[in-house]
């Protein structure tokens, strides 16, 4: 049994929001334990002064002092969880600065989150799992080449993807909308195996990821069941041919978005979530449906339009849809509406999530939405950079899983 991964907790308001138990539960479910770095009272004022952020709340001062103690090596940890109350401006400043300061001055992986009383251990699970993986499985994550015959299955909230890889090449792919989780996975796997011309018994190792990873992992007897943050980072840099150095991975998913700052294929800081589905692929699906086109046609259509011609704010999916309906009723062209929808989603992700990670080039967009060229264009405009969309980007989770699963081939 591995020793427990120790995650330092730097939070303000967690106990009083009633979510401390949820944090403990999330950590425990991934074999980690939370702890509060011990520091002397005298260190608090000294640390705040040295850090240079003159906050008034004492718990925030404590957070700063604990963060500095971790960086200075006075307290040892495997990872850091930074959390503050949602809607607290003072806390958001501290959370943001610590989230930047710790990875810049140490090798500790960090995840930050703003919670409400409605935050559950389930919400925190993927983030804790990623932190634990980075700490515990650095050797596995260092893998840069796929060996043997492996399969990766990504059971996402919208679609299920499967990939078969053989000797560092993708030889089969499968894709289905997620309906019944196991049935969809079986279907995607069958497609991938057929394309590869292989049978299940030829597969030497299996990796699963996505929301349904535990269920399908058990069903397929997977060697690796892994959250999508580390898997997608790995898959993205592998497919983009940029395994060394810094990069940024953006995955606008069907239900939530991931923005990951990656160094040598390993996530450094990351955010996951989004305030509303208005900032996710789901809104683009709705736009396509309202325009009476297939989602695959949305991107090319958006490239022909001018987003600036249509006022749209998809901060909330309901109001975003209302803007959509209003624009069409006012005579806006479908091209302009499509472009505005892409710009709106990109803007939400830019404002809500990309501010939480350090953007370093190359910026790699992955996931199904990376095929919507209007969205990629809008993101590139916002970030003022050329976005890299690697081949097979829609299969990113499955590719990352298949790649990492090959670490288990030799063991067999």
């Amino acid at each position: 049994m591995n020793r427990k991964v120790r995650i330092a907790q730097l939070t303000c308001g967690a106990e009083y929001s009633g979510v401390q138990k949820e944090i403990y539960d999330a950590a425990e479910s991934v074999g980690a334990e939370m702890f509060f770095p011990d520091i002397a009272l005298a260190d608090v004022e000294r640390a705040v002064k040295a850090f240079g952020l003159d906050v008034r709340s004492a718990d925030l001062k404590l957070m700063i002092a604990r963060g500095m103690a971790l960086v200075e090596g006075k307290v040892e940890a495997d990872g850091v969880f930074i959390g503050t109350c949602f809607r607290c401006a003072e806390a958001a400043i501290v959370r943001n600065e610590l989230r930047r300061y710790i990875p810049e001055n140490s090798k500790l992986p960090v995840v930050s989150y703003s919670f409400t009383e409605r935050t559950t251990s389930g919400t925190l699970l993927t983030r804790m799992e990623a932190l634990t993986t980075i700490a515990r499985r650095r050797a596995l994550l260092a893998r840069e080449e796929q060996t043997g015959i492996t399969m990766g299955v990504d059971s996402g909230s919208s679609t299920t993807k499967a990939v078969v890889m053989k000797e560092n090449k993708i030889v089969g792919t499968g894709w289905l909308p997620t309906t019944e989780v196991i049935k969809s996975a079986e279907g995607a796997v069958a497609q991938a195996l057929e394309m590869a011309g292989l049978a299940r018994e030829n597969i030497q190792a299996i990796g699963t990821t996505g929301y349904g990873r535990f269920l399908i992992g058990k069903h397929f007897g997977a060697d690796l069941i892994q959250e999508e943050l580390t898997v997608n980072s790995k898959g993205a840099v592998y497919l983009a041919g940029h395994q060394r150095g810094a990069s940024t991975v953006i995955d606008i998913g069907g239900m939530d978005n991931k923005a990951i700052s990656v160094i040598d294929g390993i996530p450094g800081t990351f955010t996951m979530g989004g305030i509303c589905a208005g900032a996710s692929g789901r809104f683009l699906e709705m736009t396509a449906k309202r325009l009476g086109i297939d989602i695959t046609e949305l991107g090319p259509l958006a490239m022909k339009g001018m987003g600036k011609n249509v006022p749209m704010n998809s901060y909330c999916i309901v109001f975003g849809t209302q803007s959509l309906v209003n624009a069409l009723a006012a005579g806006s062209s479908p091209e302009d509406v499509a472009a505005a929808a892409c710009h709106s989603v990109a803007e939400q992700v830019f404002e809500q999530q990309l501010q939480e990670v350090d953007i370093k080039e190359p910026v790699i967009m992955v996931g199904g939405t990376s095929l919507i060229e209007g969205l990629v264009y809008a993101m590139g405009q916002l970030l003022q950079t050329e976005i890299v969309v690697p081949p097979y980007s829609q299969y990113i989770g499955a590719v990352g899983s298949a790649l990492l699963a090959s670490g288990f081939v030799q063991e067999k």
Partner: protein
């Protein structure tokens, strides 16, 4: 005996001073003890559950951070119960600390709104100020109604 809300609510020194002069200190110890002693609640370390921030909606609107509302669920009822208050500002962290500056603002406002006797003092920084501080607290507490008078 008067019920005296102490601020910072975690100050053991203030709590002790109030009790020594025969009054009931209303502070964190009282609010948290009630939760620790509630059977069937499993939410360590303070036994505060997501229900507390919801109860805190009585004192602060939903757009106020959950940590403030959770704290107000503990201190709000004590403020309602209070007949007097001692407020010590700019206190050293070791003297007592509430953690959240926004909660502090709301608590102090709520206390001042009640129209009850309030002693507001700055935290002493030397021995001379310390003597004056204790004397002021003593004078205030002795001026409050004793048992049966309140």
């Amino acid at each position: 005996m008067a019920k005296v809300f102490i601020y910072p609510a975690t100050s053991l020194i203030l709590s002790d001073l109030v009790a020594r002069f025969g009054h009931k200190p209303l502070g964190a110890a009282l609010g948290i003890r009630e939760r620790i002693q509630t059977a069937g609640v499993d939410s360590p370390p303070l036994q505060i559950t997501p229900e507390e921030p919801k109860r805190g909606l009585k004192y602060a609107a939903v757009e106020v951070p959950s940590g403030v509302r959770g704290r107000m669920a503990i201190y709000g009822p004590l403020i309602e119960e209070a007949e007097a208050a001692i407020i010590v500002t700019d206190a050293d962290l070791a003297f007592g600390c509430m953690g959240c500056a926004r909660t502090d603002e709301l608590i102090l406002f709520s206390l001042r709104q009640k129209g009850m006797p309030i002693l507001e003092l700055k935290y002493p920084t030397n021995e001379e100020e310390g003597i004056l501080f204790v004397a002021a607290v003593r004078k205030f507490l002795t001026s409050l109604p004793e048992e049966g008078e309140a």
